[in-house]
Symmetry: C2
Subunit: 186 residues, 2 copies
């Protein structure tokens, strides 16, 4: 599984065998079953997670019990409650597994340590964060401007592989439409 | 004006006089009048901008001519079309001045150069980007979950000073409500 993390880092910066071994020693493996929670609303969030295998969803449940899906994460993506992780506060979102999952966990302490010790890791996370920022801005524009059809078509073009793996009711929730509306779109 | 940038950097990392002088030498000053464009849809985007004085808005205009406001930026905030800047593609948004503005411009080349030469600058931008990511996630949740009243109250609590400076019609557009609805809320 460590090959995936190494390839992922090397998309942004080359890294030697010994450097990578050192980096990897700061991660912990976690295996979860489908439907299991990775993060629960109200708990402290120790780790960020690199997805080795599987598919997860991050969502927010409002006071009336309505769920809003913030993001999905599949292989090579990172997922956590970033507000809780970076600010060391309690999670306001839930993250659970849509499939059996294997993730590599990195605590904030270890992330900061690696970034301080190896500039290439600081560089890696800076670049990743920039890409993440762009993806969120695109999501905001999509929420502001697109109707259900436009949001569906955007999802298809950006992440075609997700459509096969995400249950239709959850896809409908991500798009903010009813299950019936989604059936007409897809 | 350089004091503001130095204080801004030192919120995240200490920096010596000579280091700061070196960093500052990579920025260019730009002064703009109210209503002037900083970024125009369809143009390449050379610079990111640190706001020294003034207030700007970034917005997207769809095919029907409807404007959606992505963000505001006031003193100590950064603003550009980040997708265009980082990916070296043409802007899809416009950014214009709601007040006379003074900004410090940093090209992507100079940003990458400074990050490579001074790890504390790479650290600074990594941390800033993490905060930016969290703010965008909050905006997404607010768009998904809050009604107009909730979005207005969130804006008031997060950025009270903006309310005095942003014209009501533009505030209404940011919140995605009519000018009349905003009057009932405020």
């Amino acid at each position: 599984m460590s090959i995936k993390l190494r390839e992922h880092i090397e998309e942004i910066t080359p890294i030697s065998d010994s450097e990578f071994e050192y980096v990897l020693s700061h991660f912990k493996v976690k295996k979860l079953k489908k439907h299991q929670f990775l993060i629960q609303n109200g708990n402290l969030v120790k780790d960020d997670h690199f997805v080795v295998n599987g598919l997860l969803k991050a969502y927010y449940t409002n006071d009336e019990g309505k769920e809003h899906i913030l993001q999905f994460a599949k292989e090579d993506w990172w997922i956590t409650d970033y507000q809780a992780y970076f600010k060391k506060i309690k999670a306001t979102t839930n993250i659970d597994c849509l499939e059996d999952c294997e993730v590599l966990c990195l605590s904030l302490h270890n992330r900061d340590k690696l970034c301080a010790e190896l500039q290439k890791i600081e560089h890696f996370f800076r670049v990743k964060s920039n890409f993440g920022y762009i993806a969120l801005q695109r999501r905001i524009l999509s929420l502001l401007d697109q109707d259900a059809k436009g949001r569906y078509e955007e999802l298809v073009s950006l992440y075609p592989s997700l459509l096969q793996r995400v249950p239709k009711t959850i896809l409908a929730s991500y798009l903010g439409v009813s299950r019936e509306t989604l059936s007409r779109l897809s």
